[in-house]
């Protein structure tokens, strides 16, 4: 056979030689299952890390871990003061869309709550938690919030299997969060406490088969809250004013409730005008949440959230990696979902403001919480 013929034909080794070479490859060259597993775990960790860096880069929000990157999904929760009808559905849909955008594609669909690879995804998330304690906690919180978003999303689809899976994962993960000690406990407490209202809302429409799981999750949440509340940290006991009055939130992890609720630090402001600075949640007629590290949720007539946040309401705006839903929803971050719902009109007027204005704005240096001074 000449050179031209050799180059034109596909060389064949023949059955005997091919078998010998195949046996040689199997016996001497194949990786062991353990080697393949180790390599896969390492490569997948790298793939997820890159994914989250990509998401963080496009949203301008630092993402410490896989879980952190999907955190905005977890924050798409409904608070007691928000309209829960059409808006609830659009919000849940937004969360689902965002989940799809952030985490993936068709392959991700199989790792959704209740999907065949859901547990694998959870295991990967666990594996890729950062070792640095502060980042680790934030990542754990983000993971729990992602589970909460999955619960809400499953509820909107009436997907009992997804809901059961997400609830079981949620329960496990908040139990882990409940082991937080020291100063970070306030941060964990704030996160878990804010979930309760969402779970209670979900309870209204949960399929009967998933109700037990939901009740267990609420009970576990209560235990975690009790445990975290018992952890002594400076400036952790702020409380707000009376309904329709003026409440000033505590410093550090504080809660302001009332006509005008304000909470600085990691806080929750609830009321006619709810304001929360730092990692906070503002709820009310004019809810504004400004995240120190980009974790804010604004819900109400005019909801605005900066950083990685969710703005819901007549005019919802979210900057960073966020979801804006409402009459005029805008979100210039990684994902924004304006909701052209006819029930929410642009520039919707917020509920009337209570007459009292905040009288005190706590600051982080002052560890003593200021009680609310407003009257009903």
């Amino acid at each position: 056979m000449n050179e031209d013929e050799m180059q034109a034909l596909e060389p064949q080794a023949g059955e005997t030689l091919e078998r010998m070479l195949a046996r040689y490859a199997r016996v001497r060259l194949d990786p062991s299952p353990a080697q393949a597993r180790r390599a896969r775990a390492a490569v997948m960790e790298e793939a997820w890390r890159r994914r989250f860096e990509l998401v963080a880069a496009s949203s301008g929000v630092p993402a410490a871990s896989p879980a952190a990157a999907v955190a905005p999904v977890g924050r798409a929760r409904r608070l007691p003061f928000a309209g829960w009808g059409a808006r609830r559905l659009s919000g849940a849909a937004s969360a689902a869309v965002l989940a799809g955008v952030l985490v993936g594609s068709t392959a991700f669909a199989t790792s959704r709550a209740g999907g065949p690879f859901y547990e694998t995804r959870l295991a990967v998330e666990e594996l890729t938690l950062p070792s640095d304690p502060a980042s680790h906690l934030e990542a754990e919180i983000a993971m729990v919030q992602t589970r909460l978003a999955e619960i809400v999303e499953a509820s909107s689809r009436d997907d009992e299997r997804a809901m059961t899976a997400a609830l079981a994962a949620y329960e496990r993960e908040i139990a882990t969060l409940g082991a937080t000690t020291g100063e970070p406990a306030a941060r964990a407490l704030e996160a878990v406490a804010s979930h309760r209202a969402v779970l209670e809302r979900v309870a209204g429409g949960v399929p009967a088969q998933a109700r037990g799981g939901l009740e267990r999750a609420l009970a576990t949440g209560d235990k975690v809250i009790d445990r975290l509340s018992a952890v002594e940290v400076p400036g952790s006991a702020g409380s707000g004013g009376a309904p329709n009055g003026t409440g000033t939130g505590g410093n550090g992890a504080g809660v302001g409730t009332g006509g005008n609720g304000n909470a600085n630090g990691a806080g929750v402001g609830t009321g006619g005008n709810g304001n929360a600075n730092g990692a906070g949640v503002g709820t009310g007629g004019n809810g504004t949440g400004t995240g120190g590290n980009g974790t804010g949720v604004g819900t109400g007539g005019n909801g605005t959230a900066n950083g990685a946040g969710v703005g819901t309401g007549g005019n919802g705006t979210a900057n960073g990696a966020g979801v804006g839903t409402g009459g005029n929803g805008t979100g210039p971050g990684a994902a924004a979902t304006p909701d052209p719902s006819p029930t929410d009109k642009p520039g919707r007027t917020p509920p009337p403001k209570p007459t009292k204005e905040p009288v005190d704005q706590g600051n982080k240096k002052n560890a003593t919480p200021s009680p609310g001074t407003g009257k009903p």
């Binding site: 056979m1 050179e3 013929e5 050799m6 180059q7 034109a8 034909l9 596909e10 060389p11 064949q12 080794a13 023949g14 059955e15 005997t16 030689l17 091919e18 010998m20 070479l21 195949a22 046996r23 040689y24 490859a25 199997r26 016996v27 001497r28 060259l29 194949d30 990786p31 062991s32 080697q35 393949a36 180790r38 390599a39 896969r40 390492a42 490569v43 997948m44 790298e46 793939a47 997820w48 890159r50 994914r51 990509l54 998401v55 993936g104 594609s105 068709t106 392959a107 991700f108 199989t110 790792s111 690879f117």
Partner: protein, 195 residues
């Protein structure tokens, strides 16, 4: 795991878009072949494990720049693998023999069968060592990694015809070394009819 070229292309597109699970599927499909190729090149199993892993990490880095343009993904990936091996050999200056590689039999063999198997493995290893480096690599890409001549050509940066020529000669040499008779019908078939 067997997936066709079209499915691979879809996974590549998804992985380029940052879908880790799609990249995981590509890993599942290609890890075995990449590992076998690397193991055949470097000999030492521990090095092969590290290097095969490195190939995929490098693929993750380079994937955003990958454009199909008629270049099969397998060829592109094995080009990365080849470069990783070349860098490794350059820096370590250490060439372990294939004999160092751990043997994994099926587990069903008795002592006699194992002895025969070991003898056969040694003969194949010896025959492979007698090939020229290029012939050996062409054989490794074809029979251990399962690449087509086109993919092997891409990986080695050579013409497809050149790869076929190398494989022809390598096969002939292996037959001679191993005492395997050539069936005239088995010598070759028209290009494109097989991988």
């Amino acid at each position: 795991m067997t997936i066709d070229d079209e499915a691979i292309e879809r996974l590549v597109v998804a992985a380029k878009g940052g879908d880790p699970e799609a990249f995981g599927s590509l890993f599942d499909h290609f890890h075995g072949p990449v590992y076998r190729y690397v193991a055949a090149r470097v000999g030492r199993p521990s090095d092969a494990e590290d290097l095969a892993q490195l190939v995929f990490v490098k693929a993750l880095e380079a994937l955003p720049r990958y454009e199909s343009r008629g270049v099969p993904f397998g060829g592109w990936l094995f080009r990365l693998a080849r470069n990783v091996v070349i860098d490794h050999v350059r820096t370590r200056r250490e060439h372990a023999t294939l004999d160092l590689i751990v043997e994994r039999s099926g587990g069903d063999e008795g002592p006699d069968e194992l002895a025969v198997l070991r003898q056969e493995m040694d003969s194949v290893a010896c025959a492979l060592r007698r090939l020229t480096p290029e012939q050996r690599e062409a054989i490794e890409l074809r029979f251990f990694a399962g690449l087509s001549a086109r993919e092997a050509a891409e990986a080695m940066g050579r013409q497809e015809g050149t790869i076929r020529g190398l494989q022809f000669r390598a096969i002939a040499a292996l037959r001679r070394e191993l005492g395997v008779q050539a069936d005239p019908d088995e010598l070759g078939r028209v290009s494109g009819t097989t991988r």
